[in-house]
């Protein structure tokens, strides 16, 4: 009974067990790496990426009702909403909407707070830029995400 | 601030009206309902443990209550170390879960120090609180629970409360030369940053 462990030790059974694991993993099928710009990960539908302001697809009018709830919900106070009462329709209309994404932590609280379907955190995760203008305006956010296209 | 609402420092022996919840485990499993504006109020904690302490220390035990199934004692500063000692040795509260403080700048006794204790044998959790003035020292419990060492250091670091008897009371999270005690209510969240920015970068504010 006590011989077996000694024999196992002499014949390096414990080490060989480990060696066999690493050896078997050399099969190229096991490779888990994604070659990022060429292979892209599948982004989940609920992914919280760069914010986007949705527009009515038919009329291209913004869905934002300038309620300011997103600005109130933001823990970092990154969102600024400027609104103006339209004299004709007597409705509040958004005139400027900006977010400082450099400090955004993508918690999704603004998205939760939005009473319409306007503000949404999109699937865009590639927003590294060469400039520091991280304060995104309404125009940029309404255009939505622009997936980076690598040429050549 | 339950003490403010109660505001009865003498704390007479509360009559046993309602059997207290045995432990924190007995959380009220009520159906979800919107919290009433008044909210639950602390009930007197009537159990052998506080009763024995109260009979022993008398009015030094200012309060023994239960709030949402969680028990706590409010104790005078002078006896708190003895109370903690007795809790550890006679009532098996062998695990000092946490030690922290709360700052109430408007009160006379500005700081409320909270020891959260747990007993493995009784599977019970309780809090011991004491209130001290600004600048008053608090007794250190490192000799009772070595776990309190860093917690007291952190408490000193954040509130400036001095624990007498602590072996090595230094700042722990902040650098040694830090100005002020950040978790005091009169310490603005931006002031350190602004002072630094004004001195080093020559701009008004870093925000």
């Amino acid at each position: 009974m006590s011989l077996a462990p000694i024999l196992r030790k002499i014949f390096f059974v414990d080490l060989l067990k480990g060696l066999s694991v690493t050896f078997q993993y050399q099969d190229p099928k096991e490779i888990y790496t994604e070659q990022y710009p060429l292979e892209r990960p599948a982004i989940a539908g609920r992914y919280r990426g760069l914010p986007r302001l949705n527009v009515n697809p038919d009329t291209r009018e913004t869905l934002c009702i300038a309620c300011d709830l997103c600005a109130l919900a933001c823990p970092e106070h990154l969102i600024v909403v400027k609104s103006e009462r339209n004299a004709a329709t007597k409705r509040k209309e958004v005139i400027a909407w900006a977010i400082d994404v450099s400090r955004c932590m993508f918690c999704g609280l603004c998205e939760d707070a939005c009473p319409t379907d306007c503000l949404e955190l999109s699937q865009d995760y590639e927003f590294a830029t060469y400039s520091r203008d991280f304060i995104l305006s309404r125009e940029r956010l309404e255009k939505g995400s622009e997936p980076t296209v690598y040429k050549k | 601030m339950p003490e403010e609402t109660k505001g009865n420092p003498t704390a007479p022996q509360p009559p046993a009206e309602k059997p207290a919840a045995p432990a924190a485990a007995a959380a009220p499993a009520k159906p979800a309902a919107p919290a009433k504006p008044a909210g639950p109020v602390p009930q007197p904690w009537n159990a052998p443990l506080p009763n024995s302490l109260q009979s022993r220390f008398g009015s030094a035990i200012k309060e023994a209550s239960t709030y949402i199934g969680q028990n706590y004692l409010v104790v005078e500063r002078e006896v708190v170390r003895d109370v903690l000692h007795i809790l550890r040795d006679e009532h098996q509260f062998d695990y000092c879960v946490d030690l922290t403080a709360v700052h109430y700048p408007k009160k006379d006794l500005q700081f409320e120090i909270v020891w959260i204790l747990y007993s493995f044998a009784r599977n019970e959790r309780m809090r011991v609180k004491t209130q001290i003035k600004d600048g008053e020292p608090a007794p250190s419990v490192v000799a009772l629970w070595p776990a309190a060492n860093w917690m007291e250091r952190e408490c000193y670091d954040m509130f400036g409360i001095v624990f007498t008897g602590h072996p090595d009371l230094r700042r722990i999270l902040l650098p040694d030369g830090w100005n002020g005690f950040p978790l005091r209510k009169d310490y603005g969240i931006l002031q350190q940053d602004q002072a630094w920015v004004q001195a080093n970068l020559g701009i008004e504010s870093g925000q």
Partner: protein
């Protein structure tokens, strides 16, 4: 504070070579201090005579931030303390505020919370195993565990939209309903994971080098653990069968059948075995929770603007690293008056000195790994 001998200015030609003792400044930039921990070691040759931890390099003032945010706004911040187990942090905070509001999440939300938290426990233990093995010199388990953790992160991403700092739960329940096919995916993952855990064990458990490096290293007994406030797997490996999920169940943990693994000796090997066993138990809990996932609402009826009544509560949960507690004081306004976090890593790290005194430099690394600290949580 002890200064590294080589940096003290006025010692002239006296260097550390002149004495038998030497001061080694390990960190804050060191491969195996798991972040920015700085440990000042006093050495005699390679033997450790004493340690001093210098922490705070990652201090962000989370508790101060909490006083300046509303209850709901503070939820994403707790994810950033123990960023390896952000779901657990979120769960603890949400439970604390729910307690303060004297309400409870619906049953379905509780089950979803259990599933997510246990998945997160698996992920956290995987990060621990990989980095711990890497500290001891075995490079490969890191890649296997990170590969398997990736699947968990994908489930997180599908469930709540983020991988690491998840912000998965909200006060009063969950805001995200289980996505389509989540149950099957999680069950499939459980089936996938169990052989993988065997594989990690095949690489390490019987390996003679691993045994030598971990057995009898960093021994701490149960009494010392309790005195030092050490909780979690470290406490259990010292033979104290205590798990908050059993001792004071929260979030329906009392409905699940699982065991608390313990170890006899309280050394690094036992802690390794306890965590491996805990991974298996987590899989077991996940299976039960997915099988018994009830229908119903996922959000309790709580007001839009949270104004808990005046009072204070302490609620703690069993995070992967130990007891994670939140002490919340409410003054009846929308912002917490005081939030105190009882971080398991911070308290556990205190035991480092006791565990490494008299051992070798290499053991310091092993013990830091086995304590499973996350500096984001130590420093907050």
């Amino acid at each position: 504070m002890t200064q590294p001998a080589s940096t003290s200015p006025n010692t002239g030609d006296r260097t550390f070579l002149d004495s038998t003792e030497m001061v080694l400044n390990m960190g804050p930039q060191h491969p195996s201090t798991h972040g920015v921990l700085r440990v000042i070691l006093k050495l005699d040759g390679e033997k450790v005579l004493g340690t001093e931890c210098v922490i705070g390099y990652l201090h962000r003032g989370v508790e101060k931030i909490a006083e300046n945010r509303t209850y709901a706004m503070f939820t994403p911040y707790v994810d950033r303390m123990d960023y390896v187990a952000s779901v657990s942090n979120g769960l603890g905070y949400c439970l604390a505020i729910e307690k303060l509001l004297n309400t409870e999440a619906p049953l379905r939300a509780q089950y979803i919370r259990v599933i997510m938290t246990e998945l997160n426990r698996l992920a956290s233990h995987m990060v621990w195993l990989g980095t711990h093995a890497l500290d001891i010199g075995a490079m490969t388990p890191l890649f296997y565990t990170f590969r398997d953790r990736e699947e968990i992160l994908k489930i997180f991403e599908k469930y709540c939209g983020a991988r690491l700092t998840t912000h998965a739960f909200r006060i009063g329940g969950c805001i995200y309903e289980a996505y389509e096919g989540m149950e099957q995916e999680i069950l499939k993952y459980c089936d996938f994971l169990e052989p993988k855990i065997d594989e990690y064990e095949q690489l390490l458990t019987t390996n003679r080098i691993w045994l030598e490096r971990t057995k009898g290293v960093g021994v701490i007994n149960g009494e010392d653990c309790i005195a030092l406030g050490v909780t979690g797997p470290v406490l259990r490996a010292s033979g104290v069968k205590w798990d908050l999920r059993k001792a004071q169940p929260y979030s329906s943990y009392e409905k699940f059948d699982f065991e608390i693994p313990t170890g006899p000796n309280g050394d690094t090997y036992d802690r390794y075995m306890v965590r491996i066993a805990e991974m298996r138990q987590s899989v077991r809990i996940i299976r039960q929770a997915v099988a018994g996932l009830p229908e119903g609402p996922i959000m309790a009826k709580i007001p839009k603007v949270l104004k808990p009544p005046v009072g204070e509560v302490y609620v703690s949960i069993e995070a992967p690293k130990g007891e994670l507690g939140y002490f919340v004081v409410s003054d009846g306004t929308t912002q917490p008056y005081r939030v105190r976090v009882r971080p398991p890593s911070f308290v556990n790290l205190q035991a480092l000195d006791k565990m490494v005194r008299g051992q070798l430099v290499a053991d310091v690394v092993a013990v830091i790994g086995t304590l499973d600290i996350v500096l984001g949580e130590v420093d907050r």
